[in-house]
Every structure is written in structure tokens, then in C-alpha cells.
């Protein structure tokens, strides 16, 4: 780290859990963030400000007026622009040292498999079941940790899935074909509820990248922000889930 980096990250360097060694780890880390909406916006901004080395932001959609109530990586001037490009620009403005790449394409198939293989960690900030199952599959195949978040109404949830340590997203939601879901478009969402969950995802991603233990590994945090009731419960690994025995441990990683 040069003098400017020592200054920029000084408040991280003071933390015993981060320190110079941890900050170097973050500066060397590559992260794929899928979704640049209500969860992806704060996650992208905090990961960039934290000094994650490479941040790849994937989102096929364009910024629409109803997004701006909560998707804070985009401004009014970004209406009609690619969300991936707009969020990448905001992340770069916060921290030009971060290599930010915008991927304005849907996360699916061979493309997603390649994306997942090239990074150390994946964040699922998407807004639909098909993308969530595809991300789970890609992370299982590539042996990458997956930080998963979702929000609707006043409620949010976060889970961390890591290779070889407990279940996967499909263990949580096994019925891929029959998905009836709570979405922001259907039931609305409180603006900072999305922010809260996106920030929690950034917290968990940093912990995994730093090699810190997290209480959310193999567990699901559910937060009801209206009642301020937070619960953490263990996710049972489903013996019938295709993930059983399928996590491929990554040889060059100790995440």
C-alpha cells in the first residue's frame, strides 16, 4: 500500500480484524455482484469504498424512475442507462483504485459459469428465483462462496453459503419449478430496508474475503424491520439436494 492507500483505508487498518494484512487481502480480492438494484446498489458502493480490488457488476436492466426510490447507485440523470454501467460509474467515483467492470447481460448459462470461475466470491443481489438458482448452481460448480440477500416489504434476509460447509440456496428453497414469491414489484419495499440488507451482504462478503468466521455461514438471517425482530436459524443440508457432495473445494483459496 502506498501513502494514499494507507490514509484512505486507515480506519480499516485500525480494526484488529482487518489491519494491513486484511486490507491487502481485500485489495487483491475479485468479486462478482449480480444485480445493481436495491440490494446491489449499497453493496457495490460499500465494497468499492472498502477497497475490494476488482468488482464486476452484472445487471441486464436499465434504470427506471420507480428504481430511484431505493437503488442509490443510480441518479436521476441515469434514467434509461444500463444499471450495470451506472452502478460501475458510481463505484468508480467513490474509489477510482477499484477495477470496476460493468456486465450489462443476464447472469445465466456458460457466461455465468465463466464469471463465477474468475472471482473469489459472488453476491446474489438479484430479484428473481431463476437467477438465484442459476447463481447457486454456478457457485456450486466453481466452488465459490455465495452471499445471498433478498428483500420485500419491510423484511429482508441474508445467508452465506460456502463450499463444503453446510447447505446451499436450493436446500433452503427446493421447489425450483413452482415458485410463488414476494417481490418488490408485487408488494412494495421500504427504501432503507433494501439498503439494510445490501449493507449486511457487504459486511458478510468482507468477512468471507478476510477469512473471518461468520455466524451466518450455513444460516439464514431474517429481519423484520417493522417489528425490529431479527432471527437467525440454521439451514439444514438437504440430503436429496444435488449440492450434497457437489461443492468443489477451490484449491487456491482458503475462503
Amino acid at each position: 500500500m502506498d501513502d494514499r492507500q494507507l490514509q484512505r483505508y486507515s480506519r480499516h487498518l485500525l480494526l484488529p480484524e482487518v489491519g494491513p494484512e486484511g486490507q491487502e487481502r481485500l485489495l487483491a480480492a475479485r468479486v462478482l455482484l449480480v444485480g445493481a438494484g436495491g440490494l446491489g446498489s449499497p453493496a457495490a458502493l460499500y465494497l468499492a469504498a472498502s477497497g475490494v480490488g476488482e468488482l464486476r457488476i452484472a445487471d441486464p436492466d436499465r434504470v427506471e424512475l420507480e428504481n430511484l426510490q431505493r437503488q442509490i447507485a443510480h441518479g436521476t440523470a441515469d434514467l434509461g442507462r444500463s444499471k450495470a454501467r451506472s452502478a460501475a460509474e458510481s463505484a468508480r467515483a467513490l474509489n477510482p483504485e477499484v477495477q470496476v467492470q460493468a456486465l450489462a447481460e443476464r447472469a445465466e448459462g456458460a457466461r455465468l459459469a465463466a464469471w463465477a470461475a474468475e472471482v473469489d466470491l459472488v453476491l446474489d443481489a438479484s430479484d428473481n428465483f431463476p437467477t438465484r438458482y442459476a447463481l447457486n448452481e454456478a457457485c456450486l460448480a466453481a466452488g465459490r462462496p455465495l452471499v445471498s440477500g433478498a428483500v420485500a416489504g419491510w423484511r429482508g434476509q441474508v445467508a452465506v453459503f460456502t463450499p463444503g460447509r453446510g447447505g446451499c440456496y436450493r436446500c433452503l428453497y427446493p421447489q425450483e419449478e413452482a415458485a410463488e414469491e414476494a417481490t418488490c414489484a408485487a408488494q412494495g419495499v421500504l427504501s432503507p430496508a433494501a439498503g439494510t440488507v445490501g449493507c449486511l451482504m457487504a459486511v458478510e462478503a468482507l468477512k468471507v474475503l478476510l477469512g473471518l468466521e461468520t455466524a451466518l455461514r450455513g444460516k439464514l438471517l431474517q429481519a423484520d424491520l417493522l417489528a425490529q425482530r431479527w432471527r437467525v436459524a440454521r439451514i439444514r443440508q438437504d440430503p436429496a439436494c444435488p449440492c450434497a457432495g457437489r461443492w468443489r473445494a477451490r484449491e487456491d483459496s482458503n475462503l
Binding site: A152, L172, Y173, A179, C184, Q222, I235, D238
Partner: protein
């Protein structure tokens, strides 16, 4: 035996109550059987999250007296 049942988010709206205590006449009733009973015979919605005593589980889990069962609808918004 008595089982405490809690409904969250849209499940609460759907059931018209946040929680209840259900008395059943035998041990070993499954979550699915409990659901049919509280939901008037309706099928369990897909991907409903079930937690028994703060651990997620599937609908075939057998219950014992004093268990707390919670139902959460799936959330996928981003």
C-alpha cells in the same frame, strides 16, 4: 400435545392471525399434517420456509409437544 405455530409476513395475512397454539391428539404429526389442519386442508404453498425451534426443516419433520413451528413465505426481491 400442544404446538405453537407462528405465521410471518404474507402468511400472517393469509391465515388472518400471527400465531396460535394447536392441540393435537398424537405425537409424531408431521409439519405437513399440521399445515393441512391449520389451513383448512389447503396445499402447502411452494418454497414455504419452515422453521421448527429456530432451525429450518422440511415438511416431513415430525413434531413433539412444545415445538414451535414458524412459516415464512419466500422472499426474492432485490
Amino acid at each position: 400435545m400442544n404446538i405453537k405455530v407462528r405465521y410471518f409476513a404474507s402468511m400472517r395475512d393469509r391465515m388472518g392471525r400471527a400465531e396460535e397454539t394447536v392441540t393435537v391428539d398424537r405425537e409424531g404429526i408431521t409439519v405437513e399434517e399440521l399445515w393441512r389442519r391449520v389451513a383448512g386442508g389447503q396445499e402447502m404453498p411452494p418454497n414455504l420456509l419452515i422453521a421448527v425451534n429456530m432451525e429450518y426443516t422440511d415438511a416431513s419433520r415430525q413434531l413433539k409437544s412444545g415445538d414451535e413451528v414458524a412459516f415464512f413465505p419466500p422472499v426474492t426481491g432485490g
